[in-house]
Symmetry: C2
Subunit: 252 residues, 2 copies
């Protein structure tokens, strides 16, 4: 793989999923795949994902390991009103800043709820680390926030997706990685040698080979990726030629 | 959260998903949720997941960060026959051992394939780090392997699942975390204060609150977890009582 290191035109990202419920298997994650596709479409390379439990020291450690290493860090989960929602306090600790009720967030929530509805638990959702910018939440009002390069979002998929739409305009985008895929009705071992040669001859591409098993038959999806459309076309043509040659060789 | 630190009766695990295709969003991961549930059922606490790209230094760094910190490390992906399958070599490097064609793995593959089928690419799947034990693959023969506390498996879900079944008998299991769940037809902010008190009064439990949004209505699933069935029953009863009281209070 040759094109995945951060460079000036290569905007990178990491994602921290915060939640015991994912690690216990009780909730099946839907956000990783969504964020991955969302960032890829913006030309931002998601380079690492970590899933960590609802524990402050674990959240702090993950965020502080990742935020110097990537252009952006995204987190989701743990910004609701209950006792196990400890993300905002953990982010404040990670950045070494204080945290308190934020007047902007407080007003958003106060305007949205009746006085009776605006319980202490809901007021808690206005706790935002000092110095953060708010992220709009069109679904349920309680905002996310941005601290430097780190975007802190809700874990409920519909809310996370709305927050991503809200922050998309402020993200620096890269040259989009283009991809082409060729499906082989053959197990990958039958084309592996030739494919390695194609990769060698096209160093500006990343060529992935993904085996699939269905009904006892193996097939292979070969995906060529490059930021240069001409390079992509040339490598894809080589993979197509390999397909024709392999079908000729293995036809039965 | 109070019960998630490793203790003698608390067997812990981390999981490294290896694959550019997950990070690009092209493939939606199905293995994290499967492994999480599999381990929870064995009483093993999955404490962390990392998704890393097909790059040797990134795989080595993740495995070496995690293997001293947890009872077990599981990896999936990158053990096929193609040029982008670099997991076995990466694991050898992480453990500081050599790697070569393994006579046991070679024989398994040689017996399975005809001479014509047993291509150099397929022979490459017999590369196993020195000192590793093989993990049986009932689906497609090419084995995974275990190095000390680290289990290296295929990324194709059907194959990973078969490998997990193969290694289950050799895993040390913990006292299974029991759980009970109570569904509230209320947003979590309406019960957050009382729920925090229940958590405080039941320190041997982990009480999670999971908001759900559907058709513009918010509901909340409260999940109580404990390794002690009596403690679980007592905390669950308190949550049930809270539900009755809250419904009384907010009925409309």
């Amino acid at each position: 793989m040759t094109t995945t290191k951060p460079t000036p035109q290569n905007i990178s990202a990491a994602y921290v999923v915060i939640g015991d419920e994912i690690l216990s298997g009780r909730t099946k994650d839907k956000n990783i795949g969504y964020l991955a596709t969302f960032l890829t479409e913006l030309g931002i390379d998601l380079q690492e994902v970590r899933v960590v439990p609802d524990e402050q020291d674990r959240i702090v450690a993950a965020v502080n390991a990742l935020r110097p290493a990537y252009t952006y860090v995204f987190t989701s989960g743990g910004i609701g009103p209950t006792h196990d929602d400890i993300t905002a306090d953990s982010i404040a600790k990670a950045f070494g800043v204080g945290i308190d009720l934020d007047p902007r967030a407080y007003k958003l929530l106060e305007d949205h709820y009746t006085a009776a509805e605006f319980t202490p638990a809901r007021q808690r959702m206005a706790r935002i680390p000092f110095g953060a910018e708010l992220i709009e939440n069109r679904v349920s009002i309680a905002p996310g926030f941005r601290m430097e390069n780190t975007f802190v979002m809700a874990g409920v998929p519909a809310i996370m997706q709305a927050m991503l739409d809200a922050i998309a305009p402020e993200l620096q985008t890269g040259i989009k990685m283009q991809s082409a895929s060729v499906l082989f009705d053959l197990p990958e071992s039958k084309i592996a040698g030739e494919l390695a040669l194609i990769q060698e001859n096209h160093p500006q591409t990343a060529i992935g080979s993904y085996p699939k098993a269905k009904d006892g038959r193996f097939s292979t999806e070969v995906v060529v990726r490059s930021r240069d459309i001409d390079v992509l076309a040339s490598a894809s043509a080589a993979v197509e030629a390999l397909k024709q040659a392999a079908y000729q060789k293995y036809k039965d």
